[in-house]
Subunit: 206 residues, 2 copies
C-alpha cells in the first residue's frame, strides 16, 4: 500500500501551490516544512494572513494596498507630490520599484495585473472601470496634465498599454498620454544586450 498524504496536508499543499513561484514539489516541501517546524511558524503565518486581511485594503483613489483607516493611502494624501500627473502601474510591486527610483514626482493608479485573454483576465478584472472613474474625476477639475502608462514591456503588458491608451484617447482626445522610455538598461554592455532592446534604443535615440 503506497503512502497516502493526509487530506489536510494535501489541501495545504494545494493552497501553497497557488502562490507565485511554487510548483507541486516546492509547495509540498513548504507544507512539510511548516508542519515539521518547531517554532510554530504555521501559527505566525496564519496570524499574518488574518491581520493582513483585516487591516489592509485598497486605497479609494489609487488602489494601492494601505492600512490607513480613512481609506486614502499616504501617497495620495502627500501634498509634496504633483497630483496633476498620474502613473498607471500593473501592481503594488511595480509602484514600489518605480517610487524607489525617486524619479516620479506624481501620483499613481495601481491596476490588478494586466489583460490576459488567454487566462480570462479582462478590463474589469484589472480595474480599468475604476481607472476611468479616477481620471474622469481628475479631468472634471482640469487636473491631469499627463498620464504615464507604465505597464511592463512584455507582450501582455504591451497589449494592456495599447488598450488603455486607446481607451483614454477615445474618451479624452486632448489628454497627454505617455509611456516609459525604451532603451538600454544601466550597467549592461551593448554586446550582451538582446537585439530587441538595442533596436528600441536606436529608434528612440535623441
Amino acid at each position: 500500500m503506497p503512502i497516502r498524504l493526509a487530506p489536510a496536508v494535501q489541501n495545504l499543499i494545494n493552497e501553497l501551490q497557488k502562490l507565485p513561484g511554487y510548483g507541486p514539489r516546492s509547495a509540498q516541501r513548504a507544507a512539510f516544512h511548516l508542519l515539521e517546524d518547531r517554532t510554530d511558524q504555521i501559527e505566525s503565518l496564519r496570524n499574518a494572513l488574518v491581520n493582513a486581511k483585516r487591516e489592509v485594503h485598497h486605497c479609494h483613489l489609487c488602489h494601492t494596498l494601505t492600512d490607513d483607516p480613512d481609506g486614502i493611502c499616504p501617497v495620495c494624501r502627500d501634498n509634496d507630490r504633483d497630483h496633476s500627473i498620474l502613473c498607471i502601474v500593473e501592481s503594488v510591486g511595480d509602484q514600489m520599484a518605480l517610487d524607489s527610483s525617486m524619479a516620479w514626482p506624481g501620483v499613481y493608479f495601481v491596476l490588478s495585473g494586466r489583460l490576459s485573454p488567454v487566462q480570462g483576465v479582462g478590463p474589469a478584472d484589472i480595474g480599468l472601470p475604476d481607472l476611468i472613474e479616477r481620471i474622469d474625476e481628475g479631468c472634471k477639475k482640469d487636473a491631469f496634465r499627463e498620464i504615464v502608462v507604465a505597464t511592463s514591456y512584455t507582450p501582455e503588458g504591451d497589449a494592456t498599454a495599447y488598450y488603455i491608451i486607446d481607451l483614454l484617447k477615445k474618451r479624452w482626445p486632448d489628454l497627454h498620454v505617455t509611456r516609459l522610455a525604451r532603451g538600454l538598461p544601466s550597467g549592461i554592455e551593448i554586446e550582451y544586450t538582446d537585439l530587441n532592446t538595442i533596436a528600441n534604443a536606436v529608434y528612440s535615440r535623441r
Copy 2:
C-alpha cells in the same frame, strides 16, 4: 516621502519569506498576490493552515505526518510490510519518494532534517533520541534485522549518517546497519556524470 508598506503587509512578507524557496522579492510578490486576489485565496490558505495544524500530527512510531486519530500512521499499521527492517530518512518528502519507488518493503523512521552544527541543529532537534527509543523497543523484541540509514549524499546528510551509524554501532554492536547504494543514476550518460559519482560507482562495483 517614499512609499511605506503597511506593517500588516510587511509582517506577511516576513512570514512568507521563512518558507523554503522564498527570498525577499518572491515573498513580497506572494504577499501582493494574496492581497490582490479576487478569489479569497488568503482565506482558503488560512483555513488550510488551521486544518493542517489541527488534524495532522507525528506518528508515534515513525514520526511521519498523519491524521490518524489513534496516532499510528497507515504504514506502521500495514501488516503487509516487513517490520523487521527499518529505513531512516530525513523528511516526509524523502520517505514518499523512497516509497514511491516500490523498492522498500519495510517500515520507516522520519527524522526532522539533518544535523547542522552551523545552523545550531543538533541530535535532539532532528529526533535522534526518539529514534534510539524506537530501535530500543524493536531490539527488545529481537525485531530488527536491518537498519538502512537513507540520509542524502550531501555533506550534511553524510555527517548525519556517520553520526547515526556510530550511535547505533556503539549501542547495538550486532545490529546490521546499511546505507543506500552510491553509483550511477538511471538515464544519465557516463560522459556527463560528475566525477565524484563515477568514482563511487567504480569503488562500489559488483
